[in-house]
C-alpha cells in the first residue's frame, strides 16, 4: 500500500478537527467529544490492530508518519496512545472501549491522562485497562494528569517510542514556524533570518529536528514491543532534541512566542511534556548504558549494528 494514501486523508482530518482554536478549547477544559468522535469515525484508531482482529494491520514504522502528524498539530487527545493501546488490547483479546485511552508508565503525570476515559497499564503482553481516575497537574492548560495506583513500567519502552514520534512531528512544525518567522520578521531594517547568529541557531534547530526524526524512526523500526535499545535511542535522542528545539524557537521568536495567543507555545509545551514523560534523556541514557556495558568487549559500531 502506498502510505501516502493514508497520510493525506489523516492530515486533512487533523487539520479539520484540530485547528489551533479547537486545541485551545480542549486544553481549556472544553468538551472534546466532537474531536474524539472524528477520530473514532475515521477508523484510524485501529490502524495498528492486526487485520485478523479487524484493524488495518499497519506496522509501527508505517504508522509513524501518522503519529508524527498528531505531534505536528499538537492534537490534545491520546490518539497515538489509543492506537497503540487498541493494538495491544486486540492482541490480548480484550475489547477496547470507545473512548480515549492514555498510557501511564510511571509516578509522574501521564500524557493526555486528564482527557482520557481509560488508562492503560500492565505490559504489552498483558495490558491492563482501567477507568480513568486522574488527578490534574495544575499546570496551565495541561492535558496530562496523574493516574495513581497503576503499574505500567513494562509499557515504558513502547510509550517512549510513541513520545519520540510525537516529538519529531512537533519539532518539524516548530522548525518550519521558526524559519518562517525569521524570514518575515524584520529588525534593524532586515529580516532577522539574515543575522548570522540567528542563522547559526536555526541550523542547530534543523539538525536537532532531523535527529529527532531519525531517533524516532529507530524506535519505530522494531514494532509494538520495541527492543529496549531502540526505545532508549529513540527517546534519548528525541528528548535531547526537544529541549534544544524549544529553547531556540523561543529565543528566535522573542516575546511573541510566549504569548498564549501565538501558536508556538501549543507545540513547545508539548515538547517539554513529552520530553519528561516515560523517561527523560537521562533515564534512557542510563538504560542504554547498562545494555552497552553488558557487551563492553564489543566495539560501539558492532553494538549499534546489532541493536
Amino acid at each position: 500500500m502506498d502510505m501516502q494514501e493514508l497520510i493525506d486523508p489523516f492530515a486533512r482530518l487533523i487539520e479539520d478537527l484540530c485547528t489551533p482554536a479547537a486545541v485551545r478549547a480542549v486544553e481549556a477544559g472544553g468538551d472534546s467529544s466532537a474531536m474524539w468522535n472524528g477520530f473514532v469515525e475515521s477508523g484510524f484508531l485501529d490502524a495498528l490492530v492486526a487485520e485478523e482482529a479487524g484493524g488495518a494491520g499497519l506496522s509501527l514504522a508505517d504508522a509513524a508518519p501518522l503519529i508524527a502528524l498528531l505531534g505536528r498539530h499538537a492534537v490534545p487527545l491520546p490518539v497515538g496512545d489509543t492506537m497503540i493501546a487498541r493494538a495491544l488490547l486486540a492482541a490480548a483479546g480484550v475489547e477496547a472501549p470507545a473512548g480515549p485511552i492514555a498510557i501511564a508508565t510511571g509516578a509522574g503525570p501521564a500524557p493526555f491522562a486528564a482527557v482520557a476515559s481509560h488508562i492503560l497499564s500492565g505490559s504489552p503482553e498483558v495490558p491492563v485497562l482501567s477507568e480513568a481516575r486522574v488527578e490534574a497537574t495544575g499546570v496551565h492548560h495541561d492535558v496530562d494528569g496523574y493516574a495513581p495506583g497503576l503499574d505500567g513500567k513494562a509499557l515504558r519502552a513502547v510509550a517512549a517510542m510513541l513520545r519520540a514520534i510525537l516529538i519529531s512531528g512537533a519539532a518539524e512544525r516548530v522548525m518550519e514556524m521558526t524559519v518562517a518567522y525569521a524570514n518575515e520578521r524584520s529588525q534593524f531594517g532586515k529580516p532577522i533570518g539574515k543575522q548570522q547568529a540567528v542563522q547559526q541557531q536555526l541550523s542547530v534547530l534543523a539538525e536537532q529536528a532531523v535527529a529527532a526524526r531519525i531517533a524516532a524512526a529507530i524506535g519505530a523500526r522494531s514494532g509494538l514491543t520495541p527492543r529496549l535499545a531502540d526505545a532508549a535511542i529513540a527517546k534519548h535522542g528525541a528528548s535531547l532534541a526537544a529541549a534544544q528545539i524549544a529553547a531556540i524557537a523561543h529565543a528566535v521568536h522573542g516575546a511573541i512566542g510566549i504569548s498564549e495567543e501565538y501558536d508556538l507555545q501549543l507545540l513547545t509545551r508539548r515538547l517539554h511534556g513529552w520530553r519528561l514523560a516515560d523517561g527523560s534523556e537521562g533515564y534512557w541514557a542510563g538504560v542504554l548504558g547498562g545494555l552497552r556495558m553488558d557487551e563492553a568487549g564489543k566495539p560501539t559500531a558492532d553494538f549499534l549494528r546489532a541493536a
Binding site: 508508565t105 510511571g106 509516578a107 509522574g108 503525570p109 488527578e135 497537574t137 495544575g138 499546570v139 496551565h140 492548560h141 495541561d142 496523574y146 513500567k153 515504558r156 520578521r185 524584520s186 529588525q187 534593524f188 532577522i192 543575522q195 547568529a197 540567528v198 528528548s239 529541549a243 529553547a247 523561543h250 529565543a251 522573542g254 516575546a255 512566542g257 510566549i258 504569548s259 498564549e260 495567543e261 507555545q265 513547545t268 509545551r269 517539554h272 511534556g273 520530553r275 519528561l276 514523560a277 516515560d278 523517561g279 527523560s280 534523556e281 537521562g282 533515564y283 542510563g286
Partner: protein
C-alpha cells in the same frame, strides 16, 4: 581584561539588614505555594511592596531628601538577593524601584523628583516602561508612537506599546516616543514622557502568556493629552536616556536567581526521597558551584557601581552567563526528575518545574537578548 571584577565583601551594615527583611518576606510568602514563589519577578502584591517601602527597603539609592534610603548598591544587592532567593512577589514595585526611580532622579526636574520619588520609595507609585512596539523587538529606535507638542505646551499622544510589563497594574508609564521626525530618523527625535495611565484615551489590554499569567500588556493611546511637564529629561534625548536606563537594569543579582526557588525545592525533594547517586550529586554540586561563581560576579559588578563606575560590559557579561544558567536549570532538573520515573514527585514541585520551564525563554528577553548582550561584550573586547 575585566580585571576590575574581583571578589568583594558585603559591608556588615548591609548584611545586618537580613533578619528584619527576612521576617517581612516570610510573612508575605508563608501562604504561597512553591510554584507561586517561583514567579517572584512576575508575582504582583501591592500591599507587600508598600510594606517594603514603609520599612525602608525601596528607593535605596535615592537621597533621603526625596524619601529614599540613600544607601549603597551593596544594600540593594542584599535586599534583592533576599527577595528573589525567597521568591517574594516583587512585580508591583520592581520597575519603579529599579529603573523609573533612578531615571527620574537622574533626568527629572526638581518638581518631578519631589512629585514622584517619595511615592516610589513608599511603594505607592507603580510604574511600567513603554519601549517595545508591534514589530520593533530589540530595535527600539524604530518606535512610531508620537507625542506632538501643542501650542499650549501640552502633548498629544497617539500610538501603541506592546509587551509592557504590568501596565494594567501601574499608575504611570515612562514611554519612549517620537517627538519629531519619522521612524526613518532612528534614534533622532525620540523623547521620554511620563504618562498617567488613568488619563482618558488610554486602553490597556493584558496579554496572557503560555503559563496563564498576564504580566505583559498592550497599551493603546488615542489622542491622550499630557501636561507640559510630562516630558522627562530633554526633548530629543530619549534614546540616550534609555541607554542609561538599560544600564541600571543590567546591574544587581537579579540575573542569577530566577530559577533558584526551583533548585531549592528540588534539593528538598532529593532529601525527602533520599536519592544520593553520583548523577544526582554531581547535578546538585554543579548547580551550586555555578551559582556561587555567578553570585560573586554579581557582587563584583555591584562593587564597581559602589565605586561610581558604570560597568556596562561587565554587567552584560554577567547577565548573559546568569540567564544562561537560569535557563539551563529547569532543563537539567527536568531531566533529573524524569530520569527517576518511578519516584513520586510532589505535584507542587512538578508545577514549579513546568512553570519555570515554560517561562524560561523570557529570562533572556528582558533587558536585551543574548545577541545584543554578546554584541556589547564583543565591542568591550575591542573587536573591530
Amino acid at each position: 581584561m575585566f580585571e576590575t571584577l574581583t571578589l568583594s565583601t558585603l559591608p556588615p551594615e548591609d548584611e545586618a539588614i537580613r533578619p528584619a527583611l527576612r521576617a517581612l518576606i516570610a510573612e508575605a510568602i508563608s501562604e504561597l505555594p512553591v510554584d507561586r514563589r517561583a514567579r517572584s519577578w512576575q508575582g504582583f502584591d501591592a500591599s507587600f511592596s508598600r510594606k517594603l517601602g514603609q520599612a525602608g527597603y525601596l528607593g535605596l539609592s535615592i537621597p533621603k531628601s526625596y524619601g529614599g534610603a540613600d544607601r549603597s548598591p551593596f544594600t540593594r544587592f542584599v535586599v534583592v538577593e533576599e527577595l528573589l532567593s525567597a521568591g517574594a512577589p516583587v512585580a508591583a514595585h520592581w520597575i519603579a524601584d529599579r529603573q523609573s526611580g533612578p531615571l527620574i532622579r537622574h533626568f527629572g526636574t526638581e518638581e518631578q523628583r519631589q512629585f514622584y520619588l517619595p511615592r516610589i520609595c513608599k511603594g505607592e507609585a507603580l510604574f511600567c516602561i513603554g519601549m517595545s512596539e508591534p514589530g520593533s523587538g530589540s530595535d527600539l529606535a524604530s518606535v512610531r508612537t508620537r507625542a506632538d507638542r501643542q501650542e499650549d505646551g501640552s502633548w498629544l499622544l497617539n500610538g501603541q506599546k506592546i509587551w509592557t510589563t504590568n501596565a494594567m497594574h501601574s499608575d504611570y508609564m515612562i514611554a519612549l516616543v517620537r517627538t519629531s521626525g519619522t521612524s526613518a530618523d532612528r534614534q533622532q527625535g525620540l523623547s521620554q514622557l511620563i504618562v498617567d495611565l488613568k488619563l482618558p484615551g488610554i486602553t490597556i489590554r493584558p496579554i496572557v502568556d503560555l503559563t496563564g499569567d498576564a504580566h505583559f500588556a498592550e497599551v493603546f493611546f488615542e489622542d491622550v493629552r499630557l501636561a507640559p511637564d510630562a516630558l522627562i529629561g530633554a526633548e530629543g534625548q530619549g534614546w540616550k536616556q534609555v541607554t542609561a536606563e538599560l544600564a541600571f537594569e543590567r546591574s544587581g543579582p537579579e540575573r542569577i536567581y530566577s530559577s533558584v526557588v526551583l533548585i531549592d525545592a528540588w534539593v528538598r525533594h532529593l532529601e525527602a526521597v533520599g536519592r544520593k547517586d553520583s548523577a544526582t550529586m554531581r547535578l546538585a554540586g554543579s548547580l551550586t558551584a555555578q551559582l556561587a561563581v555567578l553570585r560573586e560576579m554579581s557582587l563584583a559588578v555591584t562593587a564597581r557601581l559602589v565605586a561610581g563606575e558604570s560597568p556596562v560590559v561587565e554587567a552584560s557579561l554577567m547577565k548573559d552567563l546568569g540567564t544562561g544558567f537560569e535557563q539551563a536549570v529547569p532543563q537539567l532538573i527536568g531531566d533529573d526528575l524524569a530520569a527517576n520515573p518511578d519516584e513520586p514527585v510532589d505535584a507542587e514541585l512538578y508545577r514549579t518545574l513546568l512553570y519555570v520551564t515554560h517561562i524560561a525563554p523570557s529570562f533572556s528577553l528582558r533587558g536585551g537578548t543574548r545577541e545584543i548582550l554578546r554584541g556589547i561584550i564583543a565591542r568591550g573586547l575591542g573587536l573591530r
